[in-house]
């Protein structure tokens, strides 16, 4: 029985982990290129969730078609906030960008609250389930997970097979060196920020395909916290590391629950969180650059 539960939960964790990973790639990309910690990360996830909710509830648009819409809106938001706020603070002390991204997050929350109100909302998109014997998996969750993997692969190809991707990678490696080699560092900053926000808003769509309830202007806080753990786990400046970190985090969160449940007198959920942060602390101590980042 325990083995069955453990296997089922690990599978669920892997599926969820892919979405978590995707939801963290934008954070890592922005930090990797601009060295800006986007504290307002969760608010952009929330924007993606509301785009999906609104398209589905008001216009009947399938959540899969919300993915490109959210990505384009995310790119637009990213460019807007880069040129109006971030560009002016890029050389300022880190605290300034921290406060700026925090403020952007609060601003987005309040704007969404003005439009949609503060109620918790949800939508109901059901496309069947797959009974795997050990667990039952809704097709919408599987699509969210496959979508996350697909986007991660596309990002990999774009980074490694295109000139723009190479330019961005060169800025991550050494921005001054890239500038000397003729890379337009300013444009690379702007598009990296926009791409990071685009990915984050898109992850909001995928997260609601996974969990289509609890959509609220303040829903992003929990995802910001998880994203930081995942980003550090995989390497704060590596989007692929973040994706890998998401998979590991999903496995830890779901798998450890079953094991902790075997201990008498403990609440497993409390211990899974404890374990996640313990692992984060250990990685910070022994490999502060993350598991997949070169020293």
């Amino acid at each position: 029985m325990v083995f069955e539960q453990l296997t089922g939960n690990l599978f669920q964790g892997l599926v969820l982990g892919a979405v978590y990973g995707m939801a963290t790639m934008g954070l890592s990309l922005i930090f990797g290129v601009l060295k800006v910690v986007n504290v307002g990360h969760g608010a952009f996830v929330m924007v993606g969730a509301f785009i999906t909710f609104w398209l589905f509830s008001a216009l009947g648009v399938n959540p899969i078609f919300a993915i490109p819409v959210a990505f384009v809106i995310g790119l637009g938001l990213g460019l807007f906030f880069y040129y109006t706020v971030i560009q002016r603070l890029i050389k300022a002390p880190e605290l300034a960008t921290l406060l700026a991204t925090f403020s952007i997050g609060v601003l987005l929350q309040e704007v969404v609250k003005l439009i949609f109100g503060s109620e918790f909302r949800g939508y109901n998109w059901t496309v069947g389930k797959i009974d795997l014997g050990l667990t039952v998996l809704p097709v919408s969750k599987l699509l969210a997970s496959l979508g996350s993997v697909g986007i991660a692969v596309l990002l990999y190809i774009w980074f490694n097979r295109t000139r723009a991707g190479s330019a961005m990678r060169s800025v991550v490696e050494d921005s001054e060196g890239a500038r000397v080699c003729g890379v337009n560092v300013g444009a690379a900053y702007a598009w990296s920020f926009a791409l990071g926000i685009g990915l984050t808003v898109t992850s909001g769509v995928l997260l609601t395909m996974f969990i289509p309830v609890g959509i609220n202007p303040y829903m992003g806080g929990g995802y910001t916290l998880k994203a930081f753990v995942i980003a550090v786990l995989g390497g704060l400046s590596s989007p692929y590391g973040a994706f890998f970190g998401g998979l590991v985090f999903g496995l830890i969160e779901n798998g450890s629950y079953t094991l902790f449940a075997l201990l008498p007198g403990v609440e497993p959920f409390a211990l899974t969180r404890f374990l996640s942060f313990l692992i984060l602390l250990i990685i910070l101590l022994i490999r502060p650059t993350g598991l997949l980042t070169r020293k």
Binding site: G122, V213, G214, E267
Partner: protein, 423 residues
């Protein structure tokens, strides 16, 4: 100089005579309220203010005012927005007592905010009436002036358990899964105690943290315990997630009851067919059968508007076509309790009104009202509602039923094919 001294002496004598005159009833009896009109409890707070205004309107205009010292005295309601914020609650209570000089303070919504204000009113010897704080712990602190109208958290699932015990004697296995919060813990401690009294077996008991985003591991473990029915929840957001992921994992039980979430229309809006058959305890629902006739049959006093009159007064107070929910009803019933107690005490002094409240028993549109020595509500019975074909039906207690319960509820697979939870 001599003229000034005579005038001063005249004022002194007038003041002395006024001080010796028999006490007169004031022009109004003042109710103060730090209300949650913004912040996380804004919805409940808006309902509470509407309910209070509706019943103040009824007392002043239908009842003719509160009888005090041979005079009919109107109620005056003063409220400020506490923004659902603990610090604001304490400062606003200070303002209401010292600047507005109110006669009674109505607590804000929620156990946490009610508890925060209690020491402030207690230190001033001011009556503090609780309509939105269900946590039993409020009444275990030794406060003398706190009096509850909402039912205590420990009683939330009593009706659900009594109902299942009656309609399905074979059902024995209960699962409890709830939010790791003070309120939900208190509800489930009460449920566990009552379940054991009725001979049920607790086969699963686990908590989940506030802000949980995925309950799959917990629900997988719960499924393995093969419960006959599930009691759970905490707040609205986790209740939505709980139901949704029960559906995702095909966890079918005979009954499923969620606190806080299941009674709200937004719950069904988000979950649609998945919410069919789901139950939830509620302090009050439109359709309950409390009436003057029911009070007579029960041998108790009736006061207040009828249910339909309350709804009309509430809409008038709210200024829009808003339907009152239990937050409004319990706040309104509190006004009626206070008015009756002042009449019985013949005074607005907190000590005397508190004593009168302790002896008071009555029925209103909200149901029964009676408190124990600690101020805890013991006279009010909760109702259980069930989603049946998209409508909230009161299924328990039998005396308040607007329809029969659908038990066992349809499975999630049946519901996905269009089966509704109609008995």
């Amino acid at each position: 100089m001599k003229k000034t001294a005579i005038i001063a002496l005249g004022f002194f004598l007038l003041a002395f005579v006024a001080g010796q005159a028999p006490a007169q009833a004031a022009d109004s009896i003042d109710i103060g309220h730090p209300a949650c009109l913004s912040g996380k409890y804004a919805k409940a707070g808006e309902q509470a203010v509407g309910g209070i205004k509706a019943c103040v309107d009824w007392v002043n205009n239908e009842y003719g005012g509160v009888s005090l010292k041979g005079k009919k005295v109107p109620l005056k309601y003063t409220y400020y927005d506490c923004e659902s914020n603990k610090e604001s609650v304490t400062s606003l209570i200070g303002r209401l007592v010292t600047v507005d000089k109110v006669d009674v303070v109505f607590a804000p919504y929620s156990s946490g905010l009610t508890l925060r204000g209690a020491p402030v009113t207690e230190a001033r010897g001011m009556l503090y009436m609780d309509h939105g704080g269900a946590n039993n712990k409020i009444f275990q602190q030794g406060f003398r002036y706190v009096v509850q109208t909402i039912g205590p958290a420990s009683s939330y699932h009593r009706g659900t358990l009594d109902m299942i015990h009656k309609i399905d004697p074979k059902a024995k296995r209960v699962a409890l899964a709830y939010e790791d919060s003070e309120f939900a813990k208190m509800v489930m401690e009460g449920a566990e105690e009552h379940a054991k009294e009725l001979g049920f077996e607790i086969v699963f008991k686990r908590t989940y943290p506030k802000g949980v985003t995925d309950m799959t591991p917990l629900l997988s473990a719960m499924k393995a315990s093969r419960p006959d029915f599930v009691l759970g929840g905490g707040h609205f957001e986790d209740g939505q997630l709980f139901n949704r992921q029960m559906a995702d994992l095909d966890i079918d039980t005979n009954a499923f009851s969620l606190i806080a979430a299941a009674t709200l229309p937004a719950f069904y809006d988000a979950l649609e067919y998945m919410a069919e058959g789901v139950m939830g305890p509620s302090h009050w629902e439109y359709g309950v059968k409390y009436s003057e006739q029911a009070a007579k049959s029960a041998g108790t006093t009736w006061i207040g508007p009828s249910q339909d009159e309350f709804v009309a007064l509430f809409k008038k107070a709210a200024g829009k076509d808003m339907v009152p929910d239990y937050h409004a009803a319990e706040a309104g019933a509190q006004v009626l309790a206070y008015a009756l107690a002042v009449e019985k005490a013949g005074s607005v002094a907190s000590d005397k009104v508190r004593k009168a409240l302790g002896d008071l028993q009555f029925m209103s549109f909200y149901g029964g009202w009676d408190v124990d020595d600690s101020g805890l509500q013991i006279g009010h019975t909760m109702v259980d509602v069930q989603w049946q074909d998209g409508e909230r039906i009161i299924v328990w207690p039998e005396s308040a039923q607007t329809g029969k319960v659908c038990y066992p509820m349809p499975t999630f697979a049946e519901k996905a094919k269009g089966k509704v939870a109609v008995p």
